[in-house]
Amino acid sequence: MRGDGKGGVVKALTTYRRWMLLALPLALLAGAACNRGLLTHFPHRAHLATLECGVPGKPACLSCVSCHQSDTNKHDAWAAPTAQSCAGCHQDSGDKWQHSVRPVLATLPAGKKIIFPHERHLAEPELKGQCVKCHAGAVGVEGGAPLFPPMATCLSCHHHQEQFAQNVCTTCHKANDLRGLEPVSFFTHDTAWSKRHGAEARAQPERCETCHAQTSCDTCHDSTKPLGPAQRNPEALERGLVHRFDFLSRHPMEARSQPGTCVTCHVKTECDACHITRGVSGAVAGGQSPHPLGWASGLGTATNLHGPAARRDISSCASCHDQGAATNCVRCHKVGATGGTPHPMGWRSTQSISAPECAVCHGGMP
């Protein structure tokens, strides 16, 4: 009893340490996450909103196009200011400009330009010539709206239901850009997307094809490749790749956890191909059995657990055991043998009893 108590305390401490190991970095992450800025160091708000201007002795009021001088009729209206843009007011314009430009390694959110007539939009009464209605991030606080509007901003006015239903994206996106775009705010592939993508692909394959090739599916679903996606892409940390790390040890548990899920990608003979190679198969002379002693012998004995296991996940049995007449299941479970009927309660089939797979056990029946 005493030993048990001490063991319990040790176990509790071990569990506590494990939780602390996770909680500490999470707390650090949460604290440090506040350090999120805009895409540029430039104080847009100060220049556009808080600077005293337009009165005698003060500079003229600025607008976005004072620095971002470009033709607003063009789709790619945004133009990066140069050091000259600052020279009108600042003597140390070179330093000021250098300090405020976007870091070299920063990447634009979408990375692609859209077909967008700025001038026409700025003339809309709702916008009143104000760029910041869409580019709120330019004058926002840190951690606020992004500098470049996500697609959700467009959809707040333009619903595009018809185009979306017809998979027409080229009204705003350049056709050549689509294949390289990653959805940021709309149709994003996050949250439960890994569970939804099959249904979406089934219902709207054309929509997927707008961006993806069939090779996209094969990247994960083609299990015949010698290298799995987790091995091929060790740097893709945020991807939910199921076979990461020590999957060899976990795979019997994972298969038991969600029976039948493996056959989404793997075919029935694939498991045995690997087991044969590693000598853990009945198909290899002298091979190790993965089952414990007494697994399928001695009717009603405590070790004879193969029945419930097969009931729970017959697809796991099928991954190693032959599925035709040669399977050792037939030996005991065929009609007249000692194993009894393997069919579950309420078993129905439209197959004739003379069908090859039925005749294996019912061969002697009329």
């Binding site: 992450l29 054309e206 599916c217 990247t219 091995q231 940390l237 697809s315 039925c358």
Partner: protein, 482 residues
Amino acid sequence: MQTSPRNDCVLGSAFTLAYSCAQRLLTFRRMSPRLRLIHPWTALALLALGSAARAEEPMWVDARVSTYAQYFQQALVPGLPGAVARVEPSFPLTVSAFLRVGAIDLPNAPDAVSAEVSAWGSLGPRDGRSVDGDVTAAWAQYKRGQVRVKLGRQVTLPGSSRFVRFDGAAIGVSVGVLDIDGYAGWVALPRWNLARGATLLGFVGDGLKDPLLMEAQNRAGQVTAGLRLGLRLPASSRIAVAFHEQHDLTGPAFRVLSADVGTQPLSWLGAGARASLDLQALAISEARVWVDVSALKNVPLAVDYSYQSPSLLLPQTSVLAAFGGAAWHEVGGEVTVRALQSLKVTGRASGQVFELTTQPGARGQLRAVWTPGIDGRLMILGELARALIPPSGYTQLRAGARYRATATITTSADASAFFYDQPIRGVSSSLTGVGSVEWAAKPWLRAMLSATVMRTPYAAFEAQGLARLVVELDPVSAGGLP
């Protein structure tokens, strides 16, 4: 809708392409006397074709070649009982190549044709095989208006949840709100099954050694066909029914009728459901219902219920398909919290109930991804997962980071520890560490070195090395992964 992109592209596209090709060909005339004779006519033909097509989109080509060189120095799992584990090196080389072409013009049918070819090959000792390979996609599609026809090796998503690779034809037609899709062909057999290895590149050699293999690869009976009728409804809703049949050597392996619905009645609410009925067993093989709620913009929530009957997911030509029958149910949810732009925390949890078994299962995962700074150079990831899988289970702790050191060099490190509730081969934990350095030498050329070290129940120490070289003709969304 504000503008039309056609204004930008009508005269661009085919004419420009043809003109540019003509220019190049004329330049190459200096290279060979034979070219000098051919190219002016070719150039003229291209110009004529280009001006006739007046395509909306210029022809595009995506291509990627990925080469992986591996090195193993591992303790193999024991073979015969009592055998000493052997340590041996392995250094296979794997190459996968992908080519996709689109917006190819036909006379009076601009942008009508697209095509894709994808294949891989492996050379070097691995799992007792020295040469291996497969063609995973090889199709061409013609699309005109609301009709599309695709021929060749392709993938289809039938009524059941599984996707099927086949060599054949797929036809799709949209009539108003009705979408009709059909497909038929020979099933592309999995190359793992050597006795039926019709798709093995190295199969011919095996077949010559053993004529029985040639005989067994006959795919005459291994055919598939299916039809799907979909209806697009208002409020981003849809409903569809589908039928899928797939034959094995001995008869119908899958004969499935399925239905699926999806709707988004509100901008923040989406829902869907799908069910498949096995027509041979007259039983539901699987069903799923889901609801996605994003009423709180930064806290999207997803809830799922799923049902599966594993024996009905086996081909019904399998003797074992008649042995099972116990289904299982799963209820799960996932929520992501984006309280701060740089921090994303995702929690997942699900519970499983197995018919005929009293012990339920459960899984849970908590993941935090932090991307500090305005340039996104650093990403840090932490993860905790717990799985209860009676009679065992495991706890996972994971930490990883990726750092863009310079404009061209990115490094990553990833480590994970698993603690098993029941020892595996007498060992209760495993530890894995993965590191990588990638150099984007050019926009079209990336090289990566990676190393993995592991301590698992199957190996006291295991090390693997991987070198990856990726050449990309154009940035594509081919899964985003090489």
